[in-house]
Symmetry: C2
Subunit: 469 residues, 2 copies
């Protein structure tokens, strides 16, 4: 129906992406290059991601706090790899309050350094550990090739930072966030079958000893890193002197982790589920799950539509009324498809005279007449089914576009349309470097059963290889 509104995916996927962001009123480019304006509909999706993710993070024991936007430039330089990784992307405030600053301050690109400083202050004894913190904040990384939601000079995210008494405790916590928080969120809320793995040394976070990642496949076969969880070893503990008195009375260095997910997930959601008619928002995430539309005015139509909304809301469904009959029905329906609202209930005088309404399903597709009495259970069941259907479709797409290969050349060939898996023992850092010449990267190292290898040397480790956003 909406085919004329968007560039078809098969024709020009990046253009389709830009089109859907504009037409579904998700976001706009900001006036400063690389920044974005998240419009109310886009923000309502992010807000729902936030609130569900926040609940899961709190269940994992972390508490929210807030650390400053501005970091003294000298902090960044304390961890050598970290500063090397972030220097090219920093935005620097040199003037404030009408004067030149004595020491320039950087706008946080991430907060390991400033949080490290305070962890050192707050961590006295083993009783203070683990220290589990999270913050919701904006960060700035100057982007040469910005792409809305995916790479923006400013983005919104949560960044967790924890300190532990032992390496094992830190490792298990990074894993818990990776698997029980992030992967579960992506599966249960975003309906996305992400691949879990560890990064190669080449792709690791600047300053980490191990980076765990979640990779989603987009509809064009490219990968998007949807979140990361890092073991930082004692690198930041050394740089910021995060020590504690052990139960044996010795001064010990702590072990830290950090982990984050961002507004980039909105981009992932769009590209993992969207089609030529627009977005498809998984029902559990959808700000509006059901749009109850007055097709045109007629006896009792508006009242009936309002009643349907009330009945759905009473069952916990996020339903909204669309009674804008001065806007053509077709345009409103196209708009609902663009926005990916899972279910439309169309209430018109003719159907209503027969005691029924029309249910149009964005995800399963198709329209059918449903009697008013059976409507609520029908909608509830459709919302459940739709989540599973979206997940299954994304999984099938990923599987269909992932080839098991044995050589670097075959991996490069597979990366033209999707991913390759290749034994890491066969690829290795040299093969990785060769692929990198064609902008193909090892997205992560994983085990054949989908679990995460403890080290890259483990027997059977597979490299998941592809192009990425």
């Amino acid at each position: 129906m909406a085919k004329s509104v968007l560039t078809p995916q098969s024709e020009d996927f990046p253009r389709w992406y830009q089109d859907v962001i504009a037409k579904a009123e998700l976001a706009d480019n900001g006036p400063v290059r690389g920044t974005m304006v998240i419009r109310p509909y886009g923000y309502s999706i992010w807000e729902r991601m936030q609130s569900d993710m926040d609940r899961r993070i709190k269940e994992a024991g972390a508490r929210n706090a807030y650390f400053p936007l501005f970091i003294p430039e000298s902090y960044l330089t304390r961890e050598a790899e970290h500063v090397e990784g972030f220097s090219p992307e920093l935005a620097v405030v040199t003037h404030a309050g009408g004067k030149e600053l004595e020491e320039p301050v950087v706008v946080r690109p991430t907060s390991e350094t400033v949080i490290g400083e305070f962890m050192a202050k707050w961590t006295q004894s083993y009783r203070d550990l683990p220290l589990l913190l999270n913050q919701w904040a904006n960060v700035v990384r100057w982007e040469l090739r910005p792409r809305i939601f995916l790479r923006t000079s400013e983005f919104l995210w949560q960044e967790g930072h924890t300190a532990h008494a032992t390496e094992e405790d830190a490792r298990l916590y990074a894993k818990r966030i990776h698997e029980d928080v992030y992967a579960a969120f992506m599966r249960e809320m975003l309906a996305m079958p992400v691949v879990l793995g560890r990064k190669t040394a080449r792709e690791r976070f600047a300053g980490a000893t191990n980076t765990l990642a979640l990779e989603g496949m987009m509809r064009d076969g490219k990968a998007l890193q949807m979140g990361t969880s890092h073991e930082l070893g004692q690198n930041f503990a050394k740089a910021f002197d995060i020590t504690y008195l052990s139960d044996e009375g010795r001064q010990e260095l702590a072990w830290t982790t950090s982990w984050g997910t961002s507004t980039r997930m909105v981009g992932g959601l769009i590209m993992a589920h969207g089609d030529d008619a627009g977005l498809r928002v998984p029902p559990r995430l959808a700000p509006v799950q059901v749009l109850v539309m007055v097709v045109k005015e007629g006896e009792g139509v508006v009242e009936a539509a309002r009643q349907v909304v009330d009945d759905l809301v009473a069952q916990g469904v996020r339903a909204e009324l669309d009674a804008r009959v001065d806007t053509p029905f077709g345009r409103r329906a196209v708009d609902a498809e663009l926005k990916g609202i899972p279910i439309r209930v169309e209430v018109g005088p003719r159907d209503l005279a027969e005691g029924s309404v029309t249910v149009a399903r964005r995800i399963a597709g198709g329209k059918s007449a449903v009697g008013l009495r059976g409507l609520v259970p029908e909608v509830l069941s459709a919302l459940d089914t739709d989540h599973e259907a979206l997940y299954a479709a994304a999984l099938a797409h990923k599987d269909a576009h992932t080839a098991a290969v044995a050589t670097v050349d075959d991996a490069a060939e597979a990366a033209r349309t999707g991913w390759a898996t290749i034994p890491w023992a066969d690829l290795g850092p040299e093969g990785e470097a060769r692929l990198a010449e064609s902008a193909i990267t090892v997205r992560c190292l994983t085990m054949p059963d989908g679990s995460v290898p403890r080290s890259e040397d483990e027997a059977g480790v597979l490299a998941v290889v592809g192009r990425a956003y």
Copy 2:
């Protein structure tokens, strides 16, 4: 009990304020001058403010969005008064991505300008109005004399921005936010009897035609501006070309408003209700309403305490268990007082043998033995009573420290310990200027019945005069 921990308010109020922020683990100073770290307990209070305020703002019809942190310097200069007001406080990014920027960007001190730019884009016809937006964000205003929570170089806030077809509609919306959202929130959540009024021309927001304010009295008799709601006339509409096609087919300029509340409210909460033992958090806001403390171990004590928590949580009470028996009970009790937790339920072996526990009330004061069976209703009723009691105490304090006066000298005298009200017709801009020499300001203009005057020329208008944070 905790008197030795904090400087008494009567001795040195600002010192008491700093002490309580440190000892109750609310916040720390950040490494860059004027910035702050909001620690988990402080943040949990802000988070509860946020979630309740957000609900009220949405009920008033506004939708959340997010606009960039960075604003082109040229935007600020488009509204003459606005740039004059904010220039001295701006932080400026001159370098980013390893290069000097062609046009420096400012870190937003507030977002009228950048939001104005997008309102102009999104507002085509009268059908797009009113456009009601809100954002939760950090803003930066370089402070010469920073004070944690009250004046920090970076703070967190919500800023609402709306565009309307008529002046009347804009005026009514600014008023709705002022009275139905902000004042109601402060009364119902913060237990604070704020005074509502309009600012004089001297105190108005830079770029506004009218500023509505809410002023709270602190325990030292000073005022704190807890929130503002501005009518911006057509000033920003002119500067950013926010026009729309009217239903009569004419191109018209819109009328805009903006309104905000910030982490400063946390400071207000501390100073309005705190006492020499620490914070007193109103029960509806309190992250922990009831702390159930194991006094010391004994037969069935921990199990009984846990059961009390479960019973309270089942009734919707935010209850937490404190079973840290390796920390002296006295220290834990002092800490709970410092943090202002409304109710402590102390579970010890001796009381328990008689089927009772001890209930200690932070707000009403006092301790009493309560039978386990009657505990839950007792706690529920105490939480209700405590809200009212805090509000009544704050109101009585304000009334006792507000003097009706007739001369500028008497107003200055009253401002030594509290506020004065004086007829605006008698004070006027000249008297206001005289008071300003002693750092005494007109907090707002109000009517004798507490309503907000439509203009400063209305008969009977009173000036509320005092010192302020």
